[in-house]
């Protein structure tokens, strides 16, 4: 009888521990990049310099 009671106590404790673990598992962190952008220019002077440089080295 005593051993059965002890088993029940142990079982209850184990069950509580499992519940705690599940609760911790629910704290999911989802993190990352959701938006990407850029400043874009068509500044002719700047582009001309790069294009000239590109043509020369090619």
């Amino acid at each position: 009888m005593d051993s059965l009671l002890l088993f029940r106590v142990r079982f209850k404790k184990k069950k509580k521990k499992n519940k705690k673990q599940i609760a911790q598992g629910e704290d999911i962190i989802n993190a990352g990049l959701t938006q990407l952008g850029a400043e874009i220019t068509n500044d002719e002077v700047e582009e001309e310099i790069i294009l000239q440089d590109y043509k020369t080295k090619k």
Partner: protein, 151 residues
């Protein structure tokens, strides 16, 4: 350095309630005579975790933009897309997953160099920054989201 005559702002993706907006304009300040020389991207099996641009000034000097990475981990893979001094970035695009995170990115340069990183999957929504032939990106920006709790 003088501000370009025309400058447009191109942004793709989702702005969430929890997170942090970033722009290298905070670092570049009034420097507009720059080009993106290198892009560094951190990613894992699920999504793009962060991005950093390295800029080249008109005098040739290299200038590092801010490292925009969320919860940086040693398990992240680092991908580097580096351009030659004469080359410049012509295309930036990618794919957004069902949860709204950017999961894949691709790049192309004027000389035809191509690069890609992340995971290309089904049910993703593709996007491309609208960069015309006569244009080039000069400053990077975006949004890093951190969601906590039940999803």
């Amino acid at each position: 350095m003088k501000k370009p005559r025309t400058i447009k702002y191109e942004v793709k993706g989702i702005l969430k309630s929890q997170g942090m907006k970033f722009s290298d304009r905070e670092i570049l300040k009034e420097n507009y005579s720059v080009k993106i020389h290198t892009l560094k991207i951190w990613f894992d099996d699920e999504m793009i975790k962060g991005i950093q641009a390295v800029y080249q000034m008109s005098n040739g000097k290299i200038f590092e933009g801010k490292e925009n990475v969320v919860l940086k981990d040693s398990n992240f893979t680092l991908y580097t897309f580096q351009l030659e001094n004469f080359d410049y970035l012509k295309a930036i695009g990618g794919a957004i997953g069902e949860k709204g995170f950017i999961e894949y990115l691709f790049f192309a340069s004027c000389s035809g160099k191509k690069g890609e990183c992340g995971q290309k999957k089904e049910k993703q929504k593709n996007f491309t920054l609208n960069i015309l032939n006569s244009e080039m990106p000069i400053c990077l920006n975006g949004f890093l989201t951190t969601l906590q709790g039940k999803i």
